[in-house]
Subunit: 257 residues, 2 copies
């Protein structure tokens, strides 16, 4: 079950952190890099934000946003990873994205949540009620512009994913995913190539990967094996992949002719 901490526990770098672009800051719990909006705000504004939120800790597997439920909260993740997904009644699942430290979610368009969100590991986050978020907007209009930028970026990622799901082959999907994950881990900038032999940590199961890429776990496994056979990658263990030939991988991903 979720454990609610008191607002007084809030501390600056962890509490308010609403951007999608990397600006270094360290999580006070784990030291992990975070992405922050803090830089744009004054001490007073940060304090205002902190007063509006609750801090929550979630156990792995906790579904804390449920598709179709009334959209009551807005979240800012401080620590851990979250999968966002939509499901069909017969159990088919499409993961629409992953959220990590510094990411926000729950700013729904309508009355109800359009997706579900589940903690993949131990997650710490800040929760804002919709009312308090509106109050924050009144006080900090800069937040709104920042969120617009974040939403635009999400939209770009969504369009890339639509191309992947609608038109790419299994191998192309895997190659695309590996490169996009490198960007996510800040191993290389968006649009750039990671260095050869870069090590990719994947905190995902094959099932997650399959549900994200619109494939089955068997096809994911086979495609990874094939890339390994072809000398594109190495797989020292389930949760680590080494990009041996990122350039070729990129050509596969983009279906370069």
């Amino acid at each position: 079950m979720a454990i609610l901490h008191e607002l007084s526990e809030f501390r600056r770098p962890v509490a308010i952190n609403l951007a999608n672009r990397p600006t270094p800051a360290n999580c006070e719990d784990c030291g992990a890099r975070q992405n922050g909006l803090c830089e744009a705000l004054t001490e007073d504004e940060l304090a205002f934000l902190a007063r509006s939120a609750q801090r929550i800790t979630l156990a792995p597997g906790t579904v804390f946003v449920e598709e179709g439920e009334k959209a009551a909260y807005f979240y800012n993740i401080n620590h851990g990873n979250v999968r966002l997904f939509k499901s069909l009644p017969d159990g088919r699942r499409q993961i629409t994205g992953f959220s990590g430290p510094g990411h926000f979610l729950g700013l729904a368009a309508g009355e109800n949540n359009a997706f579900s969100a589940e903690a993949m590991d131990g997650v710490k986050l800040c929760r804002f009620s919709r009312a308090s978020l509106m109050a924050v907007f009144e006080e900090l209009p800069v937040l709104e512009r920042k969120l617009l930028g974040v939403a635009m970026h999400e939209l770009v990622l969504a369009q890339q994913q639509m191309l992947l799901l609608g038109r790419k082959t299994a191998i192309e999907r895997i190659a695309s995913f590996l490169l996009s994950w490198a960007v996510r881990l800040e191993i290389c900038p968006a649009g750039g190539l990671p260095a050869a032999n870069s090590v990719l940590k994947l905190p995902l199961s094959r099932t997650d990967l399959a549900d994200y890429l619109g494939l089955t776990i068997e096809t994911v496994s086979r495609s990874l094996s094939q890339l390994k056979r072809d000398g594109m990658i190495d797989i020292p263990n389930i949760h680590e992949i080494i990009l041996l030939r990122p350039r070729t991988l990129s050509e596969i991903a983009e279906a370069a002719v």
Copy 2:
């Protein structure tokens, strides 16, 4: 080629129109319903907006936003329809969405456009340079919040489409599309069911449909034929579909068990 009109040609209902939610207003050229933000603005604010834009007319087939090009403009469509798409070098194409009167596009997340946009028919639109758009934001912060709402809504649609592309069968995709198009045409509200025997006008070719749904034109055609055989729909002509049994169609679309 694009024809640029002078700013003085601007008139209120056509000129500024940046919402995604339906609020009736008529296009001064064709009388078609439009979606408007105008209601939220004063005369002075509207005049300010109008001074910042250029009015442009496009011939069918004109690609006026090119993926990868520098993102220089922001557009508000007044008349006609636009397809948004991404392509792979070998010609595979994924349509990520359609834009019609009242829709906006081009508010890119990065330096370059993440997608291409092409006029499907005769299109009239307003064009803002990025600089003038920023000026508009300074003057009209309300626009920013409105656009955040629009972007959120786009994100919801994108997530639905990812579920469709990643996990639905051909028949389910077609059924989902027909119902979503009914919402788009304001035949029924989002989440609702259109009345039986509702007539759907489709200004799309089968190729567009296929590229939007991640299928081939043959599969689109076969699926439509099957729905017709099963008494779900009627197809009086290529660009019109009658929803005979919307309820069952919805059950197919959502894979209700």
